[in-house]
């Protein structure tokens, strides 16, 4: 009897995360089109519903009702598996994300490692999609993506090692808790270079501008998913935006104190006590999503060898040096971050 309740409980938890997540993804696309629209002195979607608010719904219906075209020379099995391989890890990661002080589906001890492992898995989806399509453009896209991910995973991993050293734990709740004590206790300050690198690597990881070489619109048309349509394409799309939200939420958890209130230890603390931690996490996450959108409207695209140069020759040395400096800071127990 107990196990059934446990399973039901977990199922409810999963639904509580996944359903809103799909909705948020839908409205991230909407806000992306609106925000970039306003940045470019146009209006974005206005037709479906008031202010185009139902546009994402219309998009979903369109994508669901479209035919999934399978190119005749494609490897059919792999072609259809690739979007699933892409989508599943980006859904799975959400199981370890602490959304507030009380809510996390699986509070596992190796949370950070789990995230690193799963986010890296999505590249297999990209490579398989490009390879199975049997199209030259898709092939180039997946090649680029593979090279790019390798260049970035390492810098990203090192940035996370910095967080791990500072918090002394891989558990995400504990990472958040170790940042207690107001804005200046959060890790963005002592780990500033790592924070910047993690943010940039995150953009690269999610294949978004200015690092969108694997789908570079004007070069290789749509890159690895050029042959996909309908639901299969929707899955890539979903995965991309879920990763975008995920990276934003991870940055806020690891460098900006997750669900911690920014007013801790200040005059406003007693007044802002009633605000649930989830709200703070959302505000932080949304600001990072906004930064991602802003980047897309502003910056030109890197060439893919330049991205690799950036990853290997600039980010990697910086992270290593900073981890070394951090070690020294930890050794001398620099206040207020490294008092354990």
């Amino acid at each position: 009897m107990n196990t059934i309740f446990l399973i039901l409980d977990i199922l409810i938890d999963i639904i509580m995360v996944v359903l809103p997540l799909f909705l948020i993804v839908a409205y991230t696309t909407y806000s992306e089109r609106k925000i970039i629209g306003f940045m470019q002195s146009r209006l974005g979607p206005t037709r479906v519903g008031p202010f185009g608010i139902l546009q994402p719904i219309a998009d979903v219906i369109k994508l669901l009702t479209k035919e999934v075209i399978i190119p005749s020379n494609a490897s059919k099995g792999l072609f259809l598996t690739a979007p699933i391989i892409m989508l599943v890890p980006s859904l799975l990661v959400w199981s370890v994300i602490p959304l507030s002080e009380y809510f996390v589906i699986a509070n596992i001890n190796a949370g950070l490692l789990f995230i690193l492992a799963l986010t890296s898995l999505s590249v297999y989806g990209v490579i398989l999609a490009g390879w199975a399509s049997n199209s030259k453009y898709a092939f180039l896209g997946s090649m680029r993506s593979a090279a790019q991910i390798i260049a970035y995973e390492i810098a990203m991993g090192f940035a996370l090692v910095g967080v791990l050293m500072a918090a002394g734990s891989l558990n995400l709740q504990e990472i958040i808790l170790s940042q207690r004590g107001g804005i200046f206790n959060w890790y963005w300050l002592p780990l500033f270079p790592l924070f910047v690198i993690y943010l940039i690597a995150g953009v690269a990881e999610t294949n978004r501008a200015p690092f969108d070489v694997s789908e570079g619109e004007s070069e290789i048309v749509a890159g690895f998913h050029v042959e996909y349509s309908g639901v299969a394409f929707a899955m890539f799309f979903l995965a991309e935006y879920m990763n975008l939200i995920l990276i934003s939420i991870l940055v806020s958890i690891m460098f900006f104190g997750g669900w911690l209130s920014p007013f801790e230890g200040t005059f406003f603390e007693s007044y802002s006590q009633w605000i649930p931690g989830f709200v703070w996490l959302s505000i932080k996450t949304l600001s990072f999503i906004f930064i991602f959108l802003w980047l897309r409207a502003t910056l030109p695209r890197y060439r893919y060898d330049q991205i690799m140069r950036l990853g290997w020759k600039i980010f990697l040395p910086i992270t290593i040096i900073w981890i070394f400096l951090e070690g020294i800071m930890i050794y001398y127990k620099v206040e207020p971050w490294f008092v354990i």
Binding site: M39, Q40, Y137, E217, S218, Y302
Partner: protein
């Protein structure tokens, strides 16, 4: 032994960066381009042949459709050729109007180039900013000729009509209330020249806006500096003209070297590059935007103060006024003759060239004394540029092909003709 071959890729004709219908067959080693072979002809419309079968005036419209982003400059070369054959001198005011619209056209073209080039490299906002300004200039086209693109405004002997004394306004619609409409119409209260004056006064700040996004942007520089370098000597050998030539550091501009119309009275500078890479060509074109703005300013000043005829007073070339046509027999005959048969030019051959935004746009025309050209040859600036594509792309990467196509400012209307 397995034989290893280069990767062959078809780039276009349906490709977002192919600028129309460029088909490029790329031989690649991984991402590195070993050779790029442009295939042209997908937009061939036989303009040269069509012009042989029509009275002179009826081909003006075809010229617009050659390089469809620098419409009036193409017309200009064509009407100049006819005028040279007929040896007619056009009124001063028409010359100023032509120069003004040539420069408006240059801004139109460079704005589209800038937007498309930036979009190709991945910066998408510039494209929409550029189109915001293009909209105003398109309105000028519309106000003066009735169409936004293919104006057919220049005529042998002058221009089709004088500048309008008022600018068309926006009217109230379902989406905009009275206040918003008033705001939109703030610069449309006066004549068209006032509208242009307003544009000219705010355009430099718009250029600053584009430059803010690109000129010092590290990514932009990484993507353009050292890409598609053409040495000055090689640029001359390849027959480059316009910003492509000036980007390589050669000071050559027909507006200065063989001034036509009233360019010799204008005060402007010719920007030249240093290294001949894509970034230099970008800088050259940005400076040309500013210089064009300066020329337009000088033209509007003169045009404000000097009203006058805009068409020669020669009934064999210029159509009579509508009023005269209704009451005078002779005018009616002239009208009929002009619009059916046209006019005959003396025997001979001429070559006229204008500095179109993309380079030297030339018309070589042979007349056998009939009312249509015996042969018309169009010298399109984009053609030699495209021919150099292979040289410019070699050993660059696939992404750089896109940069090079962008920097060449290719439009297929003129290349395929």
């Amino acid at each position: 032994m397995k034989e290893f071959k280069n990767f062959t890729m078809n780039f276009g004709p349906q490709h977002p960066a192919a600028h129309g219908v460029l088909r490029l067959v790329l031989q690649m080693e991984g991402e590195v381009i070993k050779s790029a072979d442009p295939h042209i002809g997908l937009l061939h419309r036989a303009t040269e042949k069509l012009a042989e079968s029509k009275p002179y005036n009826q081909s003006i419209g075809y010229m617009d459709r050659l390089d469809y982003v620098s419409m009036m400059c193409n017309e200009h070369a064509y009407v100049l050729a006819i005028e040279k054959l007929l040896s007619i001198e056009i009124p001063e005011r028409a010359k100023y109007i032509r120069v003004m619209f040539d420069e408006i056209t240059r801004i139109l073209n460079h704005l589209l180039w800038l937007g498309a080039h930036a979009l190709d490299i991945g910066a998408m906002s510039v494209f929409l900013y550029a189109f915001r300004e293009r909209e105003d200039l398109m309105d000028c086209y519309e106000a003066v000729s009735g169409t936004r693109m293919h104006a057919t405004y220049y005529r042998p002997g002058g221009v089709a009509r004088d500048l309008p004394s008022k600018m068309p306004k926006y009217i109230k619609s379902k989406l905009k209330d009275k206040e918003q409409i008033k705001e939109q119409n703030y610069n449309r209260e006066g004549s068209m020249l006032d509208f242009i004056d307003d544009f000219v006064s705010r355009f430099p700040s718009c250029i600053d806006e584009y430059e803010n996004l690109l000129t010092d942007n590290r990514i932009w520089k990484q993507r353009t500096v050292g890409i598609g370098v053409v040495e000055p000597e090689r640029a001359i050998e390849l027959g480059f003209t316009g910003p492509m030539l000036r980007g390589s550091g050669i000071d050559w501009d027909l507006r200065k070297k063989q001034p036509y119309e009233v360019y010799d009275k204008m005060n402007f500078d010719i920007p030249v590059g240093k290294t001949g890479d894509s970034y230099d060509r970008y800088l050259v074109r940005m400076e040309e935007l500013r210089q064009s703005n300066k020329i337009i300013q000088q033209c509007t000043q003169w045009l404000h103060n000097n009203p006058g005829p805009t068409m020669v007073d020669d009934a064999k070339v210029a159509p009579p006024s509508r009023d005269d046509m209704k009451v005078e027999m002779e005018s009616l005959i002239h009208h009929f003759k002009l619009f059916t048969e046209g006019y005959c030019t003396p025997k001979g051959e001429v070559y006229t060239a204008v500095e179109a935004p993309k380079g030297e746009f030339g018309i070589y025309m042979i007349s056998d004394g009939a009312n249509k050209p015996f042969r018309l040859k169009i010298r399109a600036p984009g053609f030699p540029h495209l021919a150099a594509l292979n040289e410019m792309c070699k050993d660059h990467m696939l992404s750089d092909v896109v940069t090079v196509i962008g920097t060449q400012d290719i439009v297929f209307g003129e290349i395929d003709r």
